[in-house]
Symmetry: C2
Subunit: 361 residues, 2 copies
């Protein structure tokens, strides 16, 4: 069985080089006599793996020294609780910018822990754009401002970040490591692994050290950033295999020119599809041009019947997981780091053929 | 590089058959065109995997229909918070039986959420036994009673379970699936995966349905059992690869005669080592005989120097991760399901040779 082009929104395609390396390390990793899955998280071999994963993550993203890098579990959804629990340290108020389904979920969850102000939202525009943040109603006493840098469902992304007095906290699950970002502009960034980092079950964060240590004394121990910071993410057993896979992905990114190299490829892939959308009379992009995501290209066809036909023919041709999120419908092509340029180009060719065939009818 | 005998307390050895199957499924699983790591958790292929994992888990353990089976993250340590958050539903009181380090941690964490009564403890006996539970001071109005069925650090296990009015909640992380257990005697059982289930990063539970739905409204969404129960553990992205590996482990257990088959092998392995300890004048068992664990065989040598010598020679001979937990010192041989009888026998031979060589000096 050959590999397909997998456009899933996450869990998503991994680099074939990484998969082959994982395969090679089973059932024995290097000179350890066992696979990574079987290693004690307290072993020297695993400590080297997680240490190297942290070093690579820091180097790739340029994480400053005054930030902790944390390896956690529970996905971004657990962070929706952990962020307010840890960062609501004075006023217990936070500003949220609501730019999609997950941004809204994050804001709703935070409301359990304190007072949430929706400083700006693009819900009235069907989340097709990022709202004007110069006009955003940021609170003067918010403990932090939360944004979602890329919106997987609608296919939008922040192209610049707001100036805020309060620390900026960002869910970067769906575009971390896809383009350079100035981490020092953020108090906290976090990301579920299953799009640009590795297999699901791992969630990474970089948090400014002075923001850690303010969770209430009765916070669940695994929901306190300090637990991870004080124990190098080894307070309890981390998801060892996912950490190891993440390390391999980081090495792969470094070999491709780092995050700047990724951005170049990501812009190339996205341009192939967006140019096609702009030229097409059949396919219509969902997101406003200036906020188009480099990771998730969303578009629609004129009706449900044509959409179903497109998805079915695409799948048969080896382009899979293209169905859009039910909130938007249509088609979504996710082009995470591991999607090769050839994948985007082949999909574009298929789309052109599909459109030409419909025109001839 | 050959495989060693890995006696780690967890993450721990996996069946070689399972590892080879995992290897075979990379980079393409069946007819999906991708590896399991790359599959959407909403895909048909993954839904089949998690569905089959649940069916196998239910069948192997005999989980009754009025129990939910949940796939979670965060390890047993997150359960230390989730158990009180969910089960302290009336009096907000709970009884804990403290039989080791993790049992104590569980009790301490529960104290954040309500009133904890240590109904019995064997701490005064160095945790070398399970305390007399007929004399335990169970509260009349406790919301639940918590026990730890196997104590990894000290090498003890419950050989019978207390009669309690309140639902019994059990941390079975280190002996789940190692011997048959009557699940209907428990309100809740849970286990981190990394000993008898699969890779770390997955935590499984079976919880009686009538006990779910009582977490406070402001509980973190991922800490409410209802979130998992209502969404078949797919509210957010589960640790998909670990779920798949668990399914393979369950199939392997079924192929070996199920949990009864495991118990037979586990008793055989444990007997090999305990018989040796009983005959030895060099090695001395830590746990009281009647409460000896089938999973973790703990023993000491007369002094630190000999212990270090033993561990170093053992490691050179291919018997690794035998160092005891720092709280106990000495040696710990963990004999989880995936440790073959030959591994225990080979270790026993090595121990006999080590003792004989010392006697000759």
């Amino acid at each position: 069985m050959e590999r397909v082009y997998n456009f899933a929104a996450g869990p998503a395609v991994l680099p074939l080089e990484v998969l082959n390396r994982i395969r090679k390390d089973i059932p024995v990793f290097q000179d350890t006599g066992m696979s990574v899955m079987e290693m004690s998280h307290r072993s020297k071999a695993f400590e080297e793996i997680i240490g190297e994963a942290e070093r690579l993550f820091r180097r790739l993203l340029g994480v400053p020294d005054d930030y902790h890098v944390l390896f956690m579990q529970g996905g971004a959804t657990l962070q929706f609780s952990m962020v307010p629990l840890n960062l609501m340290r004075r006023s217990k108020k936070a500003d949220y910018v609501v730019t999609g389904l997950f941004a809204r979920k994050a804001a709703q969850e935070a409301g359990k822990f304190g007072s949430v102000n929706v400083a700006a939202s693009s819900e009235d525009r069907g989340f097709a754009r990022i709202p004007d943040l110069s006009a955003a109603a940021f609170s003067s006493d918010a403990d932090y401002v939360h944004i979602t840098t890329n919106n997987t469902v609608y296919g939008t992304r922040f192209t610049s970040f707001p100036e805020t007095g309060a620390p900026l906290a960002a869910d970067m699950s769906s575009n971390i490591l896809s383009e350079p970002v100035d981490v020092s502009r953020f108090g906290l960034i976090y990301a579920g692994a299953q799009k640009n980092i590795g297999p699901s079950g791992l969630c990474m964060a970089a948090v400014r050290k002075d923001l850690v240590g303010f969770a209430p004394a009765d916070a669940p121990v695994m929901l306190d950033y300090r637990t991870y910071a004080d124990h190098a993410s080894l307070y309890n057993t981390p998801p060892t295999f996912a950490v190891y896979a993440a390390k391999l992905v980081f090495e792969w990114i470094e070999g491709k020119g780092g995050v700047a190299g990724m951005e170049k490829l990501n812009r190339e892939k996205a341009a192939i599809l967006y140019d096609l959308l702009d030229d097409s009379s059949l396919f219509k992009g969902v997101a406003d041009r200036e906020f188009r995501s480099l990771m998730n290209v969303t578009f629609t066809l004129p009706n449900e019947e044509l959409t179903a036909e497109f998805l079915s023919e695409a799948s048969a041709a080896g382009f899979v997981n293209l169905k859009g999120h039910r909130a938007v419908g249509g088609v979504r092509a996710s082009l995470y780091n591991a999607m090769p340029v050839e994948g985007a180009a082949a999909l574009a060719d298929f789309m052109k053929r599909f459109e030409a065939a419909r025109r001839r009818r």
